[in-house]
């Protein structure tokens, strides 16, 4: 069983100046499973994701992709890892100067010696996966937000990755576009066996399709388990988080000083 993890984080710490964003994160994302990392906004989720894909170095700790510690790699040393992963950015991050088809073919052209005709077929296949086969020649600016994300997902899948990372895949989308993306994540995992790591604050989605949920709170892992385990947790913070209640241990007041004292100071 020792090798069943795809991505493993060991004691990741990250500070921005004096502010601690991540204070020792440990979790395992297993092979061919969907792992959701949940946390409130500004809770260090994006920082963690950037560290997981090697775009940011942690101050301390390891990120293991199989047995390779990617925090030790720099520059082109990361390339073998990067060719094995895909990433869906929050805003899609499609190149606006290229058409949908060119965006998807970009990594294929870059990393394979394949012929143009074969690349064309591959692009069509990737677009079919996300249900947008007729949109090849349009520019990203001509598509809706939800469609842009689907194209971005097709691009993330271009090199048949083992792992796909998702940064807030459904934020800013209407309910239907959201469920389309959620269903796509679930299908990719089920049909193609892709390991999915999703960073989000959308609890409902996570409960629906996750194999495992990791909840971040104040830079540490608050809870970890299957959706059923998380739902059954007796921790009041976890309960507040999954029910989304404004009342509970997580205070509405983000400031730490006493309000009355603050007013009386000057």
């Amino acid at each position: 069983m020792g090798n069943s993890h795809m991505i493993r984080a060991n004691g990741i710490k990250k500070n921005y100046g004096a502010r601690t964003v991540l204070n020792g994160i440990d979790f395992i994302a297993e092979q061919k499973k969907i792992t959701y990392i949940l946390g409130s906004s500004g809770g260090g989720k994006s920082t963690l994701l950037k560290i997981l894909i090697g775009a940011l170095k942690p101050d301390d700790g390891q990120v293991l992709y199989r047995d390779m510690d990617i925090t030790k790699l720099r520059g082109t040393g990361l390339d073998p890892f990067r060719k094995k992963i895909g990433m869906l950015f929050q805003q899609g991050a499609l190149l606006n100067s290229l058409t949908v088809g060119e965006n998807i073919s970009l990594p294929i052209r870059e990393h394979t010696p394949l012929d143009d005709n074969i690349i064309k077929i591959m692009v069509k296949m990737k677009l079919e996966l996300v249900g947008l086969r007729d949109f090849e020649d349009l520019y990203p600016g001509q598509l809706s937000g939800g469609m842009q994300k689907r194209v971005a997902l097709a691009r993330a899948l271009a090199l048949d990755p083992e792992v796909v990372f998702f940064d807030e895949p459904t934020s800013g989308l209407d309910p239907i576009a959201s469920s389309v993306i959620t269903k796509l994540i679930s299908d990719l995992n089920r049909v193609l066996g892709i390991t999915c790591i999703v960073v989000t604050h959308a609890v409902e989605e996570a409960m629906k399709i996750a194999n495992k949920i990791v909840i971040l709170y104040k830079g540490a892992v608050l809870a970890e388990g299957t959706p059923a385990e998380i739902r059954g947790s007796s921790d009041p913070i976890v309960q507040q988080f999954i029910t989304g209640s404004p009342d509970g241990p997580i205070s509405f007041h983000a400031s730490s000083r006493d309000f009355r004292e603050d007013l009386l100071v000057e």
């Binding site: 990067r82 950015f89 991050a93 990594p107 870059e110 691009r155």
Partner: protein, 262 residues
């Protein structure tokens, strides 16, 4: 006073940091240029001709219009002084030398810095803030090769070419004014110009244009690549890019003029 010194110190440190980052960007650009030039597939993909068209051909009308007016204006000014001593036959040589050695390369570079350098920063800066550059890195695509190299090669070819065309246009402007309004015979004008101009006058302009091209591309792309934040920051970076490349062009121009003719 102490505060002022502190500001100055910080500005100096920032300047040194920028300079060292620019050096690394330049080194990577040169390295990646060789990768691109030697790889047929990547060369085709980079769209060098599109870059030359965007940078060079589309700057041509503006550059030529400004250059011809500059030639006329210089001839007018010089003729005012030379009228007193009756030295109209010095006009062709004076105008040609001033333009080929100094005004042509400088003016062309400043126009291109404003038009093209600013566009580089805005374009790359926008890509940076919308995570497109991070996306390239995540796909194991070198952003310098993908975004900087074709602009570098494109401008390295376009700016010297634009400069030469601007030089000829400015001299032609002077020729038109001199031969029609000052009564200098056209054949005398041409002969005088060719007598005075040396090979150094011509190639020093090409060298200058090459150096200015490097400055415009490096500063323009660097300012774009380091943008953090949003649209406001892209705007600020674009302004900063034009200001710093303008300044660098003028300073280096002075040094190079000194080196060639001092």
């Amino acid at each position: 006073m102490k505060n002022f010194a502190g500001h100055l110190g910080r500005a100096f440190i920032t300047f040194l940091q920028d300079l060292s980052s620019l050096y690394y960007l330049f080194r990577e650009t040169v390295l990646q240029s060789f990768v691109l030039i030697t790889d047929r597939k990547k060369r085709r993909q980079a769209g060098l001709l599109t870059q030359i068209d965007e940078i060079g051909t589309q700057s041509l009308p503006l550059v030529l219009a400004v250059a011809s007016l500059l030639g006329v204006a210089m001839t007018v000014l010089i003729s005012f002084q030379l009228k007193e001593v009756g030295g109209y036959n010095y006009i062709p040589g004076l105008v040609a030398v001033a333009i080929f050695r100094e005004m042509g390369p400088l003016l062309t570079a400043l126009i291109v810095a404003g038009r093209v350098g600013a566009a580089f920063t805005a374009r790359i800066g926008t890509m940076k803030v919308s995570e497109e550059i991070l996306a390239l890195e995540t796909m194991a695509i070198n952003p310098v090769r993908f975004l900087v190299v074709q602009r570098f090669l494109g401008l390295l070819f376009s700016l010297p070419a634009l400069t030469m065309l601007a030089n000829f246009m400015a001299v032609f402007g002077g020729f038109l004014f001199g031969s029609t309004r000052l009564g200098i015979r056209p054949d005398t004008y041409v002969r005088e110009t060719l007598d005075v101009l040396t090979f150094t006058d011509v190639y020093s302009g090409v060298v200058k244009a090459g150096v200015f091209a490097v400055i415009i591309v490096m500063v323009g792309c660097y300012r774009g690549l380091v943008v953090e934040g949003g649209a406001e920051e892209v705007g600020r970076a674009t302004m900063l890019s034009v200001v710093s490349s303008t300044l660098a062009i003028i300073v280096l121009d002075t040094f190079m003029t000194g080196a060639f003719y001092g």
